[in-house]
Symmetry: C3
Subunit: 131 residues, 3 copies
């Protein structure tokens, strides 16, 4: 299991980790298999979406903030109930296929760490499994 | 494939199944690998979130009920269209890593079966795959 | 890695791909393992839900369109920001277990390709991994 370190600078922030994940896969020596990406936090997540136009990530951030606002009345008293709920909606994990020693993504796809309660220092766990 | 039995007592209810999943992993004898958790129902799901403060699970339940209300006008006539939609938003599956014969979770993470059309008796399927 | 071709006919459309996935699994010769399904697009996704009553898929389409409307003010100027956001909410991937050479689904479960910016020709990547 490899561990990536990610630092967020805003409360809600999608951070492109595609290059870092690709590096782990290349260094693993696995030619054909699956790369599993896991976020061990309860107020963050991971998603795959367009990384050519950074406005897409901003729209995802804004829309999640609108659908699940910070200042609704929640039971959890730490002021980050919305962050936990966003984490469940987006999910804490993704997998991508590995072929010829590299990750297989669609033309526009990038992998994003999703911060929902930043700024913070975070970790991402990765396993690359041979087929 | 191992099968867990889960009984819900409310219509919408997050139920902590972390200990049960951990038991399956320990008994599998797998030291290093991945544990896959799958819900074979269309009005339920599975998520990973904070299980230290039970208010977080209650906030997730309430917010999903608000975003996808039971009594909107739907086509599906069984009165549980909202339950199906929640199932797709949360998702029917998660994976967690296995190291040293045990599941690897973040400090605050627990695994929750998500009931969206209870009370019912439900099943959860688990596979623990050696790396 | 196997590639399925899917053609959508509407902007938002859940398309049942259960039979096509099942065929890939049967032809793979894998008796016991996991089937991984991955969508290499940023305005589409894949989900598992009821495929007995087609109204369930229609309700999912309508509700996602209501929660994340096309004509809100977004930054991304291509007119499909909502499609990208739906993709992150639903997710680009699922896994299903394989036993006795066939996929294991719950009684009511089917696998749906989720088009959020059609009509288009799309691809779905599949890997069937032996346990």
């Amino acid at each position: 299991m490899k561990v990536l370190n990610v630092s967020s600078t805003k409360r809600t922030e999608l951070i492109d980790i595609t290059s870092a994940v690709r590096k782990v896969v290349r260094e693993s020596g696995v030619k054909k298999g699956i790369c599993f990406v896991y976020v061990p936090h309860t107020t963050a997540g991971v998603t795959i979406n367009e990384h050519a136009d950074p406005d897409v990530a901003r729209d995802i951030e804004d829309t999640l903030d609108k659908l699940i606002p910070r200042n609704r009345s929640y039971r959890h008293v730490e002021g980050n109930a919305d962050s936990h709920i966003k984490s469940t909606v987006v999910g804490p994990e993704v997998f991508v296929f590995v072929e010829d020693g590299d990750i297989v993504l669609g033309t526009w796809q990038g992998i994003f760490f999703c911060e929902f309660d930043g700024p913070r220092r975070r970790k991402v766990y990765i396993k690359v499994v041979e087929e």
